[in-house]
């Protein structure tokens, strides 16, 4: 398991290579990369700054990876989330999940992202032509996380 909160960019290929290096038991690696968009809520976004709660962030990410490990048989998980100022097109978050088969890898990857969206203490502030604004939490993110409890 690898959990990083960092200002620097990450390299998806390098992370996947590191995950499978030296082992032949992995049959599937599912990954997700979230990117900063140039548009949100109908107006252009020139940049965004990600704030986090240092200490709790790492703990919250470890907790949701533990939860994924309790639900599925996983061989490895990497979560990297960036903080600081990001420009449109910049990668924000990476989740990579290795399993024996694709089913658990896909499911755990989606589960980790859905929980990260509602549980990990990060906040986005956008720079728009109308000034700065904090991004509001979405009800659809709460719904996406809640469906894992229903099934």
């Amino acid at each position: 398991m690898k959990i990083l909160v960092q200002a620097e960019a990450f390299d998806l290929g390098a992370e996947v290579d590191a995950m499978r290096a030296g082992r032949t038991d992995i049959g599937a690696i599912a990954n997700f990369v979230g990117l900063a968009r140039d548009m949100n809520e109908g107006s252009g976004v020139a940049a965004m700054t990600l704030e986090h709660y240092a200490g709790m962030t790492e703990k919250a990410l470890a907790k949701l990876v533990d939860e994924a490990n309790a639900r599925w048989t996983l061989l490895d998980v990497t979560v990297i989330h960036r903080v600081g100022r990001l420009l449109p097109g910049d990668p924000i978050v990476l989740v990579a999940v290795a399993g024996q088969h694709r089913g658990e890898a896909f499911a755990a990857c989606e589960f980790i992202m859905d929980y990260l969206k509602t549980q990990a203490p990060f906040w986005k502030k956008e720079e728009t032509s109308d000034g700065e604004r904090w991004v509001e939490a979405r009800a659809s993110d709460d719904a996406a996380a809640a469906r894992w409890n229903a099934s």
């Binding site: 919250a60 203490p121 990060f122």
Partner: protein
């Protein structure tokens, strides 16, 4: 009890404070929120009933009826928006 209280994101900006140490006589997170709300102004607005905010005690998100241990690190922040 003595609490270390942290504020993040929009709350930090609106309250004009990132961190404070507070001597506090209440027992639960709800008591603390009521105490802070009584400061009036932005405190009363941002922590009003019906406003969305989260409380974490020693870095775990808790419900408002959670007890506060002495010397706890309490954080109050808006719903998270990472990912």
């Amino acid at each position: 009890m003595t609490l270390r209280i942290l504020y993040f994101a929009r709350l930090r900006e609106r309250l004009g404070m990132a961190e404070e140490t507070l001597d506090f006589a209440g027992a639960t997170a709800a008591d603390l929120v009521a105490h802070l709300r009584a400061r009036g102004g932005a405190w009363a607005e941002e922590l009003a009933a019906g406003r969305a905010f989260r409380v974490a005690v020693n870095q775990d998100i808790v419900a408002l009826d959670a007890a506060l241990p002495d010397h706890a690190e309490v954080a109050i922040f808006p719903p998270v928006t990472g990912g």
